[in-house]
């Protein structure tokens, strides 16, 4: 691409020179012949009828040569890209175990769309094939559904029900919240959850937070964690006895929730109101929820790298990833986390904790200037980075990964600015790709700006189909169209989808929140659109020892902070711990406070920085959507100096 730009730059002065030459000659000729007007407007014509004679012929030759050269170049680029693409596909195929036969069908199918769409323009053609290639790559996972649908569906096995009044695709947080909502509103509802994971529905936040701080050595088996105040819970929403067996779904007297694990929905027939699983079984439904979540993104540099690098890279999302990373952290000498967002920073802090005991080196690298660089305003991002460093993490800022190789039993990460980092294991925390595999077969719209299935304010995609959680790109009446990848949003949207599946027709109105803890000293809760590119106003006070996440959980009795807002009424009171000891004055300026994010002078996002249990006020301010002249007055509502 750069090559062609430089070529074009070289060509352009030539073209300009020849065109001015032609124009001058034409003008001269035109003046001589008295036809100046016609010649000036037709200065690009290659016909000999104008003036010019030899000059215009040379010009015609030049243009013709450029066109031919451009065409040849474009053709070669396309062919080369094709080859590269096919090589890459073959490389990926040789690695992947599943769907190997289906994917080889893809490259041949994608060839025809590539070739006819090339243009002779040298500048743009090199970009086109790449984007086309990536498009057809994206289409690749959905292609396999074609050959599958041709296969005759096998009769449903005895274990899997052939019909489920409520079918929930995906077994994560959103799905579970929907199941509970449906059961609460529709007495004796029969709900079937289909998930390709082997586990029952569980919550993800502890996988990158509390589970790492557990003293229990068998934590990878039990997946239970003791919170700061001693109260223990499992990451699973409910123990297995809560659910009924899939084969009991039809017969259970009072209905129930059944979970079908290890099965993937590969095809959706919207007109027939049924889905097909990867083993060919068909399940029909009355109402369906798609809560397929997403798949962690990977760096191109790692995808292109060889087997040894891939083996030593973790894409963190599931229970298995937690188990394997825990294992690695006990054996490796150095772990590098690529990514400076929520997950990357939380894992870095969690592993940094371990580093103090075991001598493990923890490195975190990201392209931004500080941790949470895309979320926090710069001054706060810098402050946070210092805190992360204090947790024992080596932070490398403004780092763009160029390549990763395996050399001398170590991974070598080459950065674009020349720096080299040697490590044993990599954790890539570079975002989530929403899982929209079913969009093609179901005929559902995928959002081009945010990714995910496009749904309306009531989370509905089409009749009888709703989408919730990470995969839903929905219309937020207050804040506009968005897609949110947080735990509480999965709960809120799952719950709402469940309500709407049972006839409620409510739009997304209750704003979900999110939180993050970076070690015991830095914790914040946030709500709305929290994007560091927006103008912000921060109101800060000095923090005392009481204003830490530890104190917040001790007070509320729960580590999942969205719960502390709601579970008070029905939960039996937790014995309060001894009050915090001496009140320390933190030296840092940004001890605690409130940060408002503004869009067109309206508050669209709020971060409560080391200030807890005030989320309802924040929610109210966002809901109102008013223009406030003095945000300090608004900040007073939070009583930041109090506990």
């Amino acid at each position: 691409m750069l090559r062609c730009r430089s070529v074009w730059r070289k060509l352009s002065p030539l073209a300009r020179a020849s065109s001015t030459l032609c124009r001058e000659n034409a003008r001269r000729a035109g003046l001589n012949n008295g036809r100046s007007v016609r010649v000036q407007t037709a200065h690009m014509s290659t016909g000999p009828a104008g003036g010019g004679g030899r000059q215009s012929q040379i010009y015609a030759l030049l243009v013709g040569a450029a066109a031919v050269g451009g065409g040849i170049y474009a053709y070669q680029t396309v062919k080369g890209d094709q080859q590269r693409y096919e090589e890459r596909m073959a490389h990926i195929l040789s690695r992947s175990q599943k769907a190997a036969e289906q994917e080889t069908a893809v490259p041949t199918q994608s060839e025809p769309p590539d070739v006819p769409e090339t243009e002779p323009e040298a500048a743009s053609s090199s970009e086109e094939p790449i984007s086309l290639a990536s498009d057809s790559e994206a289409a690749a996972p959905t292609e396999p559904t074609e050959p599958l649908s041709a296969v005759e569906s096998t009769p449903a096995s005895a274990k899997i029900p052939s019909h489920a009044p409520y079918l929930l695709i995906g077994g994560g947080t959103a799905s579970f919240a929907a199941a509970r909502s449906i059961r609460a509103r529709d007495p004796n509802a029969r709900v079937l959850i289909v998930t390709d994971e082997p586990d029952l529905p569980y919550m993800r936040p502890p996988l990158s937070k509390e589970l790492w701080f557990s003293d229990d050595s068998s934590v990878t088996e039990t997946l239970r964690f003791k919170q700061w105040n001693g109260k223990e819970r499992s990451i699973f929403f409910q123990p297995p006895s809560f659910y009924i067996q899939p084969e009991e779904l039809d017969s259970a007297e009072n209905g129930g929730v059944a979970v079908l694990t290890g099965k993937k929905v590969t095809h959706m027939d919207v007109r027939g109101n049924k889905v097909k699983l990867d083993d060919g079984t068909e399940i029909s439904y009355n109402k369906c929820l798609i809560a397929t979540g997403g798949v962690p993104r990977n760096l191109q540099a790692i995808e292109r790298a060889d087997e040894e690098v891939i083996k030593r890279t973790t894409l963190f999302r599931k229970i298995d990833d937690f188990k394997s990373l825990d294992n690695v952290s006990r054996n490796a000498k150095s772990i590098t986390i690529i990514g400076g967002g929520f997950m990357g920073s939380e894992l870095a802090c969690a592993l940094g904790r371990r580093s103090t005991e075991s001598g493990l080196e923890v490195v975190q690298m990201f392209p931004e200037k500080g941790n949470m660089g895309k979320v926090l305003p710069e001054y706060l991002s810098n402050w946070t980075t210092e805190k992360v460093k204090r947790e024992g993490v080596k932070v490398i800022k403004e780092a763009l990964v160029k390549s990763v190789t395996f050399k001398d039993d170590k991974l070598e990460i080459q950065l674009k600015d020349g720096r080299l980092v040697e490590t044993d294991h990599i954790v890539a925390a570079v975002g989530l790709e929403p899982n929209v595999d079913l969009a093609k077969s179901a005929g559902l719209e995928v959002d081009s700006d945010f990714g995910g299935f496009r749904v309306n304010a009531e989370l509905q995609a089409r009749s009888n189909i709703w989408v919730a959680g990470d995969a839903a790109c929905f219309y937020d009446i207050r804040l506009g169209r968005r897609r949110v990848e947080h735990h509480d949003h999965a709960v809120v949207s799952g719950r709402l989808a469940g309500e709407n599946m049972t006839g409620a027709n409510k739009p997304y109105w209750h704003q979900s929140m999110f939180w993050s803890d970076l070690g015991p000293d830095v914790g914040y809760e946030a709500i709305g659109i929290v994007d560091s590119s927006l103008p912000t106003v921060g109101v800060f006070a000095k923090a005392t020892a009481k204003d830490t996440p530890k104190a917040a959980t001790e007070k509320s009795g729960t580590g999942i902070r969205s719960e502390s807002e709601t579970e008070d009424t029905a939960v039996s009171p937790v014995a309060s711990t001894a009050p915090a000891t001496a009140v320390e004055q933190h030296r840092d300026n940004y001890g605690k406070g409130v940060i408002f994010y503004l869009r067109d002078k309206v508050v669209v996002g709020i971060i409560l920085w080391n200030v807890f249990n005030r989320m309802p006020i924040a929610r109210k301010i966002i809901k109102d959507g008013e223009e406030h002249a003095d945000l300090n007055e608004v900040a007073k509502l939070f009583n930041i100096h109090e506990d």
Binding site: R183, P239, G256, V539, H628, D630, E633, K636
Partner: protein
């Protein structure tokens, strides 16, 4: 005294306790308790029970959900002098069901959490017409493994 600085597009204000002592003059729009879009508490504006209230945990949705709903509805609508005195059978059914799932409904907590839910609902139903700003109407959340579901 508070002071203010500007870093590019970001404004930073530092305030002391005294600065924030005066009550705020920021105006908030009054809430409509009947707003159908809003999350409702345990008791809906029309007096019905909101089974989807996160405060109930998973009690209305679990295997003993229907027994729980019957017992609790009976109690809620009971007009007897001793509220719920005619609902003994319903509560017994519920308890029998819960005993079948000790993992979900830990036995010592069973009576405690259900009576807690009752007393809380009584108090919250008294409160709800007055204000809902401080009521726990907010986020739904995963249930606590220990409490009944």
């Amino acid at each position: 005294m508070s002071y203010c600085k500007q870093e590019g597009k970001d404004r930073i204000i530092f305030v002391t306790k005294e600065d924030h002592e005066a009550p705020s003059n920021a105006e908030l729009i009054a809430d409509d308790p009947e707003d159908p879009y809003e999350e409702q508490g345990l008791i809906l504006p029309n007096g019905d029970i909101n089974w989807n209230c996160p405060c109930l945990g998973g009690m209305a949705s679990g295997p003993c959900g229907s027994q729980f709903k019957e017992a609790f509805s009976c109690f809620h609508y009971s007009k007897e002098e001793v509220k719920g005195s005619e609902c003994i059978d319903n509560f017994r059914n519920m308890q029998e069901c819960m005993q079948k799932y000790p993992e979900l409904y830990p036995q010592e907590e069973d009576k405690e959490s259900s009576s807690q839910a009752e007393s809380d609902s009584a108090s919250s139903s008294a409160l709800s017409p007055e204000n809902d700003a401080t009521q726990s109407t907010s986020n739904p959340s995963p249930t606590d493994g220990k409490t009944a579901s």
